[in-house]
């Protein structure tokens, strides 16, 4: 603990503090809300400081640094606990710490007066702890452990309003659905462990894996591990939990959707990227999944009326982009988009939170009618976020999307690029649909009195919630210009095991036509949205409303939830559970009870031989003796 190595000390502090904060709040300070939130925020801010220190201190390192202690020793299996300090993990650590701190500060305003205030901060600390420890995990087992804990923390946060059935349902759904992916991931890891004998991330990423394990086996375990990404990052076909996860408080959505829960999947993909790159099929598979996810969720976003739903679908589709980028070999593009997305998605959710808090509705048509555009700070910030989301120059999303397009263009099969570009149109359309509706309401209801009612308390809360928005918005504005430094930083200690190079020179390969096409497509999307929702006298009805069948399909999430519900009922409840339960009651228990009854019955029959009537008893004796005599004779 008391080490002279400042890096180790900083890592330990970063990771341990939020956990201590969680334990303290849960065990001691539940009653005192102010103490709880101060402890939690103090812990996360200290972690943030340490993370920034680590980031700066290790920026020139070219070799990953590892600290490990044996956590479990069982036979030949050794599970270490420790830290892996390299550029990727430090970058992620900073992102997580920044977003978590901002969200916690913002929550002071948003959650004020909630009866579960302390519990909320305890869960936030738990979440931060799990996520940060996962980020710096040196071995895949530790990674998996904290990956599961991230799932647990999000279960608790999504189901935070547990009195609502829908919230606890959503929490359960998130946990179980991601668990399905995790099972695949765990099996993949075990296969890797059994054949390779080691799950240290550095070793798994080294070229030695390819020598020791045959390629088909790498493919199998890579695809199984990728199942974890599918679950956590809400990829097709397990994407249905994320839109439901809106049931949690809005800051939680901001946290979940930007830098933590869902980003964890993409982070793992990047973390093990050299390993995944060892199998062409695994990358193809990822590319396919990413593309399907991206297109499906964009279509869902086009018809949603709930502001958080729109952003939720957009998260899913952006995650699809990241997976596509990584699948196409664009390691940097994927991570860069993860970073920029963390910023602007947190921004978008936190802005929506202000609106929701203020208007007590999630429907952005209603908000708009009540005068949403009068809330200047969140409205401006949200527009900035939306511009970044749809990839408009000069906001951060533009740069990261461009690098994704370059990565896709680099791929021999151009169909992925086409899909990616198509997605740009959809993204721009659904994003600006929302923005235009919010900015240019069809009719305005007068809600002036609303403002005055609780002006005093509100304004403090408003600014508590406002500052994180401004910070995030300014980050979103400038982050894109650091693309080169960013790339340099990420590649400084990145050793590509399998000779796949997609560096700076790849950017040139795409040429300028790609950038221009992308810009044009984004503009088309925005223009369509403008025509339908923005311009004066616009009907504010999408072109999809003329195609009710398709609109219904999109609005019902392609009937995926219906399908799962049906499958769950048919296969699990009416199928196995029912059969097994009957079997237990009828066959196993029935058999045993039958045996008992049989024993009892035969006893009763035998008891007739022993009745009280003397003549009868003598008769039986004689009969038996007769039998015995006969058997001797025979």
């Amino acid at each position: 603990m008391f080490t002279k190595d400042p890096i180790l000390l900083a890592c330990t502090v970063t990771v341990v503090l939020p956990f201590l904060s969680f334990l303290t709040i849960i065990c001691y300070t539940r009653k005192w809300e102010r103490v709880s939130c101060s402890i939690s925020i103090g812990a996360i801010l200290t972690s943030l400081l340490c993370a920034v220190y680590l980031f700066v201190a290790t920026r020139h390192f070219t070799e990953p640094l590892q600290y490990r202690l044996p956590w479990v020793i069982s036979g030949k299996t050794i599970i270490p606990f420790g830290f892996l300090v390299d550029h990727l993990s430090m970058l992620m650590l900073v992102i997580v710490a920044v977003i978590a701190s901002l969200v916690q500060i913002y929550s002071l305003g948003y959650m004020a007066g909630d009866p579960g205030f302390s519990r909320y901060y305890a869960c936030q600390s738990l979440f931060a702890w799990a996520m940060m420890t996962m980020t710096v995990a040196p071995s895949m087992i530790q990674f998996y452990i904290f990956w599961e804990l991230v799932g647990l923390a999000s279960y608790l946060l999504i189901g935070f309003y547990y009195e609502k059935w829908s919230a606890s349902q959503a929490g359960k759904k998130a946990f179980v659905v991601t668990r399905i992916g995790d099972v695949g991931m765990f099996i993949g890891l075990v296969i890797l462990l059994l054949y390779y004998g080691n799950l240290s991330i550095v070793d798994v990423n080294s070229a030695a894996v390819a020598k020791q394990i045959p390629v088909p086996l790498i493919t199998i375990s890579a695809i199984l591990i990728f199942c974890g990404v599918i679950g956590k990052s809400a990829q097709f076909p397990l994407l249905t939990w994320l839109p439901d996860a809106m049931e949690g408080p809005t800051p939680v959505s901001a946290l979940l959707h930007s830098a933590t829960m869902v980003a964890a999947g993409v982070y793992m993909f990047a973390r093990l990227f050299p390993f995944f790159a060892g199998s062409e099929q695994a990358l193809q598979f990822a590319l396919l999944i990413g593309t399907i996810t991206m297109v499906l969720s964009s279509t869902m976003a086009m018809v949603a009326r709930d502001i958080k739903q729109v952003w939720a679908y957009s998260t899913v589709s952006q995650l699809g982009y990241m997976v596509m980028a990584l699948g196409a070999g664009g390691y940097f593009a994927g991570m860069f988009h993860l970073t920029t997305h963390a910023g602007f998605k947190a921004l978008l959710f936190l802005c929506s939170g202000v609106f929701i808090h203020h208007y007590h509705t999630n429907d952005f048509f209603v908000m708009s009618r009540q005068g949403a555009r009068n809330l200047k700070v969140p409205m401006v910030c949200m527009t900035i976020g939306a511009l970044a989301l749809s990839g408009v120059f000069p906001f951060s999303g533009f740069f990261s999307k461009e690098s994704i397009m370059v990565a896709l263009a680099h791929h021999p099969n151009k169909i992925w690029l086409a899909a990616g570009l198509f997605g740009e149109v959809l993204t721009a359309y659904y994003t600006f649909r929302l923005i235009f509706v919010m900015l240019f309401p069809k009719e305005i209801e007068d809600h002036g009195h609303h403002e005055e009612e609780h002006h005093e308390g509100e304004s403090i809360l408003y600014w508590l919630m406002g500052w994180p928005l401004i910070i995030l918005a300014s980050v979103t504005c400038v982050l894109g210009f650091f693309e080169k430094q960013f790339e340099h930083y990420l590649f400084a200690d990145f050793i590509l095991a399998h000779g796949m190079e997609h560096g700076a020179e790849a950017a040139q390969a795409g040429g300028h036509w790609l950038t221009i096409t992308a810009i044009v497509l984004v503009l088309i999307g925005v223009a369509v949205a403008w025509l339908e929702y923005g311009r004066k006298g616009a009907s504010q009805e999408g072109f999809l409303s003329r195609m009710p069948a398709i609109e219904k399909l999109f609005a019902n999430r392609w009937y995926m939830d219906h399908f799962y519900r049906w499958a769950l009922d048919m296969i699990i409840y009416s199928g196995f559970t029912n059969i097994f339960t009957r079997n237990d009651r009828r066959v196993i228990d029935g058999g045993i009870d039958g045996l008992c009854r049989g024993t009892e019955g035969s006893g009763r029959i035998a008891s007739f031989l022993q009745s009280n009537m003397v003549q009868y008893n003598i008769f039986v004796m004689v009969a038996i003796l007769g039998f015995v005599a006969l058997s001797f004779l025979g």
Partner: protein, 491 residues
Amino acid sequence: MISMEMASFPFLTVLLLTNLVALLVIMFIPPERDKLIKKVSLFFAGITVVISLYLYVTYDTSKGGLQFVERYLWVKSLGIYYFVGADGINLPMLLLTSVVLFTGVLTMWELENRVKEFFAFMYLLVIGVYGVFMSFDLFFIFVWYDVALFPMYPLIVIWGSTRKEYGGMKLTLYLLAGSALILPAILYLWTKSGLNTFDLLALHRAGFTKHVQIIAFVMLYLGFGILAGVWPFHTWSPVGHVAAPTAVSMIHAGVLMKLGAYGILRVGMFLCPQGLQYWAQLMALLATIGIVYGAFIGLAQNDLKYVVGYSSVSHMGIVGLGLATMSVGGINGAVFQMFSHGVMTALFFSSIGYIYDKTHTKMINELGGLSKIMPVASAFFIIAALCGVGVPCLSSFWAEILVFIAAVKTYPVRGILAICGIVITSLFMLRVVMKTFYGPKNEKFAHIPDVSLFLASPRIILAGILLLFGLFPRLILDVIQSAVIPFVGGF
């Protein structure tokens, strides 16, 4: 070879006698003074905790082998020894028994009906349990085993609920059928060895032929397996859990079921390694079926205790699977699972006991929204459920992960099936948590106070243990492993 170190002080005998003294003292207290009876019970349970904790801490893992040994010849003509000792496998079990006993007494603090008899029977039961865990003599193991079984019947039938006569009868018959298989197996081994001894270590060296081992092992496996809830001999256990009063459920699921698994490990596998190899495939199969089957049935249950009962079937399947792998990792995991499942189910039943006392129902449909009414009491059930789901940093997780790694290596298909089973486990556990504790609060129970600190103390202890061993698994795994490595070396 397993090393032996004689005890400088007869700790194990003292541990056993403490319970006997407790039993006698309780017998001599007038039944009206029920507060005193409870205090005395708690006092002696506290002593057992202290002794077993002391043994656990002072056990030297670097030396390993049997320590704190006491061995005296009892009946020369039959070769019966009073032979007790402690190693890495039974130390966690002894600790578990003391902890469950202590928390069980605390949980029953509000008992009013025939207090004296209840605690007397409970101590009688526990004497048997301690006896089995510490004995290294087959004769004593069998005797203590039956001592532990007998008090279950009155405990369930007098203080139980929900179909108690049926449940008690079923349980007793089942378990006696189990011992009817164990006794012939023990006598068979005793005759075949020709050594005229019941000493477990001596019999281990006897070198039985493969044929003998195969026959003896399957009898021991089934006999002890009934108590361990091996599928398809598991149906007594949910019924018994449901019928039993809280503390008895805790001891029953927490400790008695471990007795079965411990018997398979200590007697069956130790004496008949070749028999184990012959039957391992079947063991793994039954265990895997148990894991998946228990989880599916748990999904359909409407009674909290039934849910936990079937989850026990599922979790004990993990123990069976670990044992069947015959590897260090698997058996480590199995013993760890025995311990953490014991603590976990004790926590489950203790929480359910409180809920049942206050609401007079344990039907999931009739409850709902309890988190709002009694947040602290609910939190402990939720912790137990999360442990059952296999959430990391609670001790079950480590046990499961070790068993699964070993299982996939030895039995790939069954191992993967078992891993998939945990999805169902999480589904049914979270379903119960949701239906019972979440949702709008039920006005019918709105007046119920949250649990007081004293009444919550057994649950605090149990949850603390789960968290402690979840965060620092080496505290227990190093102890277990010190015994398992030589054990597996004997195969």
